[in-house]
C-alpha cells in the first residue's frame, strides 16, 4: 500500500544542535515530496519541495532535505536549531495529483 512514514513521533534537541527528521515513502514511482511545518494552532507552511533534479533541496528558515531514491527517503535537516523551530513537522507526498501526509514529528527545542 502507498504510504508516508515518519518514524519519530517526538524529537527533542538542544538549541544550536543539528536536526534530522526522517521521512520514508512507499510508492511505485518517485512522487513529489514536501516538508511542511505547523506551529501550534496555525496552518501549514511549506518548508521545501522536491520534484526532480538535484537531490539536495534548500528551503526556508535554513532547512534542507535530501532525496535518496535507494532508501525511499526524504529526510529534513538543519545544522543548528533555533528555539523558534519548535513545531510539528509533516512530510507529504503527491502522487497522481493527490497529496498524503505523514503522521508528523513534534520537535521540542531545549534551551
Amino acid at each position: 500500500a502507498q504510504s508516508v512514514t515518519q518514524p519519530d513521533i517526538h524529537i527533542t534537541v538542544s538549541e544550536g544542535a543539528s536536526l534530522e527528521l526522517r521521512c520514508n515513502y512507499s510508492y511505485g514511482a518517485t512522487p513529489y515530496l514536501f516538508w511542511y511545518v505547523q506551529s501550534p494552532g496555525q496552518g501549514l507552511q511549506l518548508l521545501l519541495k522536491y520534484f526532480s533534479g538535484d537531490t539536495l533541496v534548500q528551503g526556508i528558515k535554513g532547512f534542507e532535505a535530501e532525496f535518496k531514491r535507494s532508501q525511499s527517503s526524504f529526510n529534513l535537516r538543519k545544522p543548528s536549531v533555533h528555539w523558534s523551530d519548535a513545531a510539528e513537522y509533516f512530510c507529504a507526498v503527491v502522487y497522481n495529483n493527490d497529496m498524503r501526509f505523514g503522521a508528523g514529528t513534534r520537535l521540542t527545542v531545549k534551551p
Partner: protein, 114 residues
C-alpha cells in the same frame, strides 16, 4: 503572492447543525482539496475536486459531507449534521494542473462542535 483564503477562521456549532466552510482558491488553479486535522493528529485527506466534480474522496468523506463550487471563485465544504467528532481544523488547498508546483494551503478553519 497569491493565497488561498478560508472563512471563517473559527466556527462553533451545535451538534446536529449544518455548517458550511468556505474557501477561495487561487484564481488560476483548477484542482481543489479539503483536508482535516483533528487536534494533535495527522492531516487527513478528505476530497479532491476538479472540473466541477469530485475526483477522489477518502473513507472519511461520507454522506454527511459535500463539496460545491457555487460560482467561479468559492469552493465550499458542507457538513450536514455535525457530530462531536467532526471538531477539527479543516484546510482547503488548490493547485494548477498544467505545471505542478505543489499545493497552496489556506490557513484553516477551526470547527468546534458542542
Amino acid at each position: 503572492e497569491p493565497e488561498v483564503t478560508q472563512t471563517p477562521s473559527h466556527q462553533v456549532t451545535q451538534m446536529g447543525q449544518e455548517v458550511i466552510l468556505r474557501c477561495v482558491p487561487i484564481s488560476n488553479h483548477l484542482y481543489f482539496y479539503w483536508y482535516r486535522q483533528i487536534l494533535g493528529q495527522k492531516v487527513e485527506f478528505l476530497v479532491s475536486f476538479y472540473n466541477n466534480e469530485i475526483s477522489e474522496k477518502s473513507e472519511i468523506f461520507d454522506d454527511q459531507f459535500s463539496v460545491e463550487r457555487p460560482d467561479g471563485s468559492n469552493f465550499t465544504l458542507k457538513i450536514r449534521s455535525t457530530k462531536l467528532e467532526d471538531s477539527a481544523m479543516y484546510f482547503c488547498a488548490s493547485s494548477e494542473p498544467a505545471e505542478f508546483y505543489g499545493y497552496t494551503f489556506g490557513s484553516g478553519t477551526r470547527l468546534t462542535v458542542v
